[in-house]
Symmetry: C2
Subunit: 181 residues, 2 copies
Amino acid sequence: MKKQQWPVEDVRHWLEPGPVVLISSRWQDQDNIMTLGWHTILEFSPSLIGCMISAGNLSFERIRNSGECVINLPDAAMADTVAKIGNCSGTNTNKFETFSLTAETSERVSAPSIAECHANFECRLYDDAMVERYNFFIFEVVAARVKPKPEWPQTLHYTGDGVFRTDGALIERRALFTKVS
Amino acid sequence: MKKQQWPVEDVRHWLEPGPVVLISSRWQDQDNIMTLGWHTILEFSPSLIGCMISAGNLSFERIRNSGECVINLPDAAMADTVAKIGNCSGTNTNKFETFSLTAETSERVSAPSIAECHANFECRLYDDAMVERYNFFIFEVVAARVKPKPEWPQTLHYTGDGVFRTDGALIERRALFTKVS
């Protein structure tokens, strides 16, 4: 199902709930993928996301050098792939090939998007002031695409120790939300 | 049920999945509570958590001045309270009284813990270098307490537009986790 544009200022809809994401990157024609659970929304517009990318990851220098990545949102059916991607290194594994993932051309960045994921958020490095001290990258989302269905996919939330939790029921409380956000 | 100590270096078990939390603070004998969905784990040890606390919140200056807060984890049964807390201001509301919440004495900080929440993470401001530019506070968790049951409570994950999502089933993939974390 063809993905549709999603407003970059509303990326919080997908990332604020705290799912595990797959970060794809490209540097000197080499693609890589890593898993990430340590991220937060920082601002609606510009659409800013903070990500703690451990310096031990191959992706760390590649993202820093290229100044780009894509945050891809896997659904719960991809749990095995997500776990495996997080437990091998791009130094000796081509993760797109090994895990039969499709490297799709992105719109605004050279890093590839993962076609199989529910959503793709293309990012440019916005501020690296906290990278030295905390490995904390602040990205701006410059393009966003989401599969139109399902409207509420189950995603994965990592708790450590090899255990994910999936999403459950919705609780709608619109009437109580009198403030804007 | 009496809460038990939880290792501060494993706070990620509760916060990495991305739940909405309630931040309690105390400044000049005034207590306040705010809701927060924009947070991330930054380090296991010291146990660091980054929180984007909008400067528009009364809590912003209070937490900055006192250098302390408690991150409280509400469960899904508290959805109404969470929504209401996020949609009123401490300038004209005593939120503990209004929402019948119990301000429990904390162990290591003067800010009160919310007794009704599933877990309490007492925090000290660790680094305010990103507060001016991004309203981003880096806290160290100095004490953690968790209710012994349920082991896997349903928490709330905010998606914007008045809609929360709760936690669903567990997906256990320990055998695939060959790396430490």
